[in-house]
Subunit: 159 residues, 2 copies
Amino acid sequence: MSDEITIEMINDENFDQFLKLVDMLAIYEKLNPPSEKARHRLRKDGLSECPKYEAYLAKFKDNYIGYIIYFMSYSSFLALPSLYLEDIFVLKEHRNKGVGQKLFNFCVKKAKEKKCGRIEWHVLDWNKPGLKFYKKINAQHMSEWHYYRLRNDEFDKFL
Amino acid sequence: MSDEITIEMINDENFDQFLKLVDMLAIYEKLNPPSEKARHRLRKDGLSECPKYEAYLAKFKDNYIGYIIYFMSYSSFLALPSLYLEDIFVLKEHRNKGVGQKLFNFCVKKAKEKKCGRIEWHVLDWNKPGLKFYKKINAQHMSEWHYYRLRNDEFDKFL
């Protein structure tokens, strides 16, 4: 099947299909799908002249069945850009047929083109298929690094 | 003391001082300092018209005593940019005087200016002063997210 998959950059025509897939990932991750305002920002941020992220869709027989979102991060230690894989998602009914692998390989190709020192990503601890895939491809689990966030509703405490 | 600290963007004049601080962080993190080629890339990537990262130095009485490096990442879930704090470092002899807090507050100011949904960062599990600081400021530890990397010497296996 993976030979019949094409990979297509997001554009004005396929953007609504892309948003439907983003909704499906939100459902999978037990999160709320993006609001109307967030959908508007996603469009603006992804399709502007200086996009804040890049996204590609996997297409099979006229259906969009998966996608990736990535952007460039930076490693000060390597002094090289990294490719940060924000989302990789395949619809449930199309899993285990090599679609995720094809999307991941596409990321690697992009990372090579952009002369990145590494690809990096996070995966939720309950996402067993994801963890299995990353084990299979022999990715490094950076378990000594703790991941932290500060939300913008906390910002004013620091100003 | 923190009132006497000024914050200065990296530029052609202070860049060598910045590189010395990067070396000191490498020593603290038990990593090799950047090679000559990496130092050259850091300069190009930080001082070009479209910099790949932004960096600021903390200055106290004509001495540079700390720095931050950050860049813009993106949250597809929020549909907003995030500020990713790549490095925050203060020389050992100037710790516990509010310099790190001042640099962190500066990041928050930048994140607010750039309308970020969050600030995010990683910290090594043995960095006890870092962990203590992030606990003090009530940052969220995203322990359910596992962090993975794939190095560029593995890329060709996927192509």
